[in-house]
Symmetry: C2
Subunit: 212 residues, 2 copies
DNA sequence: GCATATAATGAACATAGATTCACAGACTGA
DNA sequence: TCAGTCTGTGAATCTATGTTCATTATATGC
């Protein structure tokens, strides 16, 4: 599931280096997700990665670079999946269902960090997130407008409630965030599949235009 | 609008002390709202308040206490208004409209900090917010359940779409957050009143049960 | 097995920022 | 005007944490 690089045929040294790099990044992701950027210390990350502090600096210039790398890679992964599973969908209703599944899956895989991904890249309370890399911002923007167009089609076809497409997108985001946030607070015992089903039912009840 | 204490008839010394205390708290609110807890320095706050660093410590034990005070007071204010304007409302639809207005008003008055208030007290990305004072948490919990009951009535009466009341509450929260977040990113030129109107229309389109 | 290159290490260093405290100024009552 | 008290001050202190680098360990090629 994670973004395995094409490790193929590289010199073994190179492969190991990349593997270590990734291990560090993944450890960092876990720590950042727990404590946020400023709340996390390089030592914590080193410990989680089972390397010495100095070693991290053989792979990354600074704590900040490490954070940006983690964030950027996460966003790219997520957006790739988004393009594939959501934007690739013809039927607007299926597209919405796909968004829901994707979001929940990401939450499940990346726990805390997922919050950042499809959440509007608002500087969370100012400090938690540093600036997103500009490229990532651009990609997010594109994805959002593309999705809005999908919703537009749904509205035009009369399947979705006719509030503006942009507002509809915002509402969907918000609802997803709200549920995800809840699940982050008290881990539900309900298995993933059921959560998705319930969420889908809820959301569709709201946004589908009822037959008169 | 703010939580003016009953300054009445106290010895002047006392009144001045309280005034200073409040000035500091208000300055802190602005700085915290801009930079988050860890992102803000005591010196910044001192500067904003136009006092020396040491002076702050004559009024508050620590940076942390200062933060908690700001947060707690904000929450109390907000919840008082919530009880009055929302829970006091008979008609469930009017109650929802009141929530919308309140939320937008709070945003307008407290800019960044408002995000924290009615947002489920999820440790925002882990570090931004310290633990809320337990009393505040309890109050928030009460307000939420009370509001859920209002929605319940609306569902029972057949005016709201019949997803569970708790889920409906979550959706409302989410949608409000989404719009507020948008407005925090790019300040809309639209005046407050219009924003409220548009938001109300959008939300009601979603949650009102359509006549068949 | 040795010499060299590469990677890992963690103690030492530098800095930022929270907290303290000895001092200065302002006010009070006589 | 003066002693006494209270308030405000900001330089000095202490601590936490990001970053560096001399040293040690490991791997590679001969």
């Amino acid at each position: 599931m994670g973004g395995e690089e094409p490790t193929q045929g590289l010199p073994r040294k190179e492969r190991e280096r990349l593997a270590h790099r990734r291990e560090i990044a993944e450890a960092a992701e876990r720590v950042f997700a727990r404590n946020g950027y400023r709340g996390s210390t390089v030592e914590q990350i080193a410990q989680e990665a089972e390397f010495a502090v100095g070693t991290l600096y053989n792979f990354f210039q600074s704590k900040e670079e490490l954070y940006e790398e983690v964030l950027a890679s996460l966003i790219e992964q997520a957006l790739a999946l988004f393009g594939e599973r959501v934007l690739g969908e013809e039927d607007p209703v299926k597209a919405v269902e796909a968004v829901i599944e994707l979001r929940v899956a990401l939450l499940d895989e990346h726990k805390g960090f997922a919050r950042v991904v499809f959440q509007t890249p608002l500087a969370e309370h100012g400090d938690a997130s540093l600036a997103l890399p500009p490229r990532a911002l651009a990609l997010i923007g594109e994805a959002q407008t593309a999705f809005t167009q999908v919703l537009e089609r749904g509205i035009a076809a009369g399947v979705f409630v006719d509030i503006g497409a942009a507002d509809l997108a915002a509402c969907l985001q918000g609802i997803l965030n709200a549920f995800v946030a809840q699940w982050l607070i008290h881990e539900p015992q309900e298995p993933l599949a059921e959560r998705v089903a319930r969420l889908r039912k809820t959301i569709l009840s709201l946004i589908l235009r009822k037959k008169s």
